[in-house]
Amino acid sequence: MILEVCNVTKKFGGVTAIKDTSFSVKAKEIYGLIGPNGAGKTTMFNIITGNYEPTEGDIKFHGQKINGIKPFKIVHRGIARTFQNIRLFKSMTVMDNVLIGFDYQASYSYLEAIFRLPRFFKEERRVRKRAIEIMEVLDIAQYAEELATSLSYGQQRKVEIARALAANPQLLLLDEPAAGMNPLETHELAELFFKIRDEFDITILLIEHDMKFVNKLCDRVMVLDYGKTIFEGDIKDAIQNEEVIKAYLGDFKHA
């Protein structure tokens, strides 16, 4: 088990956003977190990445407790994420955006940067080469010197994924990666995720609404509804589960 969420409860004042939720993600699988709006999916992401501290329960990564660790340190341990609404660095090029992911991996000191000592060039070359490799996998290398925000929506998504991959994660959290994309783009994206998983040898945990997409991509899913877990297990069972259909997939059969 790469990620274990053990009996997590999160309360905001009187509101319980997540109630006693447990699930675990196996290494190299693609795991889906689904549920209607306001079900607590993004809250769950924020707990895993350390932005929120769970009111009760623990998050374990490779068997070690990670709740209470600062968010940037959790990234160093190997969990990277993308955002629901794309959040690229507006003033920076695609290349620089991706290079931010390498921030903690380029090991030269502040003084080495100021005086341009040999290690600066060595490390900077190494991470730039890696950045281009990642961009090539995602097919955005040709935009390296463009401003990130000048790209199309779909390409910006890819830049955000490239940036997260640059942080060298073992677990990649994707918050609604297919939002705002047409069926063709969605299809391509699913193929891309299979490719990313195999190429970078990582586990993917994603939030998604598009059931076709989830069905194609995910090995297992968990369905949340108003903070409660109503289903956990195989995707094939999920779409036949009465409760899941009632809560969320109501019109799935007709779709």
Partner: protein
């Protein structure tokens, strides 16, 4: 391949600029009259201050109003280290100076380095309370910091000679010093900006949460930017003290910060090239426009001397620039970006 090209291109441009700047320093020292040299000295010192202020305010996007505080610290440290004990005993009228104030004495280089270091250490300790919170708190705290430093300077006559200030500081600053330090500062700041630290600073400016989510220690990055700019502001203050030869608390009011803020906003927040252009524009422009204060002969019409006319015209120019170039002269671009753009057009 691509990255190698970027490195060599940038290095060549940098080298060309350094050589031009060194040549200009030498040329100016030998050609211009004393008045012009004094203006260039001033411009060089303000380039140091503006470029380093731009690092925290423009590049890292943390709105702070501290430069006058750190410039004051740098100026006082240098002054205390340069004036010998005899001179101090002669000047300190309000209270006798502390023995350690009398004893401290170094050469100019060490005085500058210590000015910078003390400013940087103060910035470091200040950043712990300040960067715990986000937003405009930094502006308020740093604004207060500037006032506190000034009031401390007035109220500790044993160290600073109170409101009388320190006079007869040896005039070490010349074009080689101010120009040299300015070149070094610009190079150092640019080297920071074009490294992972600079990228992280820009990332903090653009989206702090996203930067954290990419593994950037945003507190450390903000502290680095703040301390670095404090270091160079301290050094700039030291140069200023040794250029003016006399300093007093009144030199370091909020107006100094305000002036620097105008410079970097005019030049383009976040652009080092912009900060340099802004300095030249504001400092040299203000000097050049002195003729506006004097009696003039416009198309045969004699006008009377109008003191303050210069500031009116200057303000008008500022308004016009901000109307037509809202992001400042350079926006967020650097000189090297302009070269790149030209190549792409071809």
């Amino acid at each position: 391949m691509i990255e190698d090209k970027i490195f060599t291109n940038q290095r060549l441009i940098n080298l060309a600029i350094i050589i031009t700047a060194i040549w200009f320093t030498w040329f100016a020292q030998n050609t211009f009259d004393e008045y012009t040299i004094r203006i260039i000295n001033n411009v060089a010192i303000f380039i140091i201050l503006a470029v380093s202020y731009n690092l925290i305010n423009g590049v890292t996007g943390q709105f702070s109003l501290e430069p006058n505080g750190f410039v004051a610290i740098g100026a006082y440290v240098t002054a205390i280290l340069l004036v010998d004990s005899e001179g101090m005993l002669y000047q300190y009228d309000i209270e006798d100076p502390y023995p350690w104030v009398l004893a401290l004495q170094t050469n100019f280089l060490w005085a500058l380095i210590l000015s910078g270091t003390i400013s940087a250490l103060l910035a470091l300790s200040l950043s712990f309370p300040v960067f715990r919170v986000r937003g405009d708190y930094l502006a308020i705290v740093t604004l207060g910091f500037g006032f506190i430093i000034r009031i401390l300077a007035i109220n500790s006559p044993e160290i600073t000679n109170g409101s009388l200030g320190i006079n007869d500081i040896p005039e070490y600053s010349n074009l080689y010093w101010t120009g040299g330090v300015a070149i070094f500062t610009v190079m150092a700041i640019l080297n920071i900006i074009y490294s992972k630290y600079g990228r992280a600073m820009k990332a903090v400016r653009d989206d702090e949460d996203a930067a954290t989510a990419m593994g950037v220690n945003t507190f450390k990055i903000k502290t680095l930017a703040f301390s670095t700019s404090a270091f160079f502001e301290g050094v700039g203050g030291g140069l200023l003290a040794a250029l003016l030869t006399s300093i007093s608390p009144d030199l370091f009011t909020f107006f100094l910060t305000f002036q620097l803020l105008i410079i970097i906003v005019l030049g383009g927040l976040g652009s080092t090239t912009g900060a340099i252009l802004g300095t030249i524009f504001v400092m040299a422009g203000l000097e050049y426009m002195r003729f506006l204060d004097e009696p003039m002969n416009i198309l045969g019409m004699e006008t009377e001397a109008m003191p303050g006319m210069r500031m009116v015209v200057f303000s008008l120019i500022l308004i016009l620039v901000m109307l037509f170039a809202r992001e400042g002269l350079m926006g967020k671009k650097e000189l090297s970006d302009l070269f790149k753009r030209k190549k792409a057009d071809k």
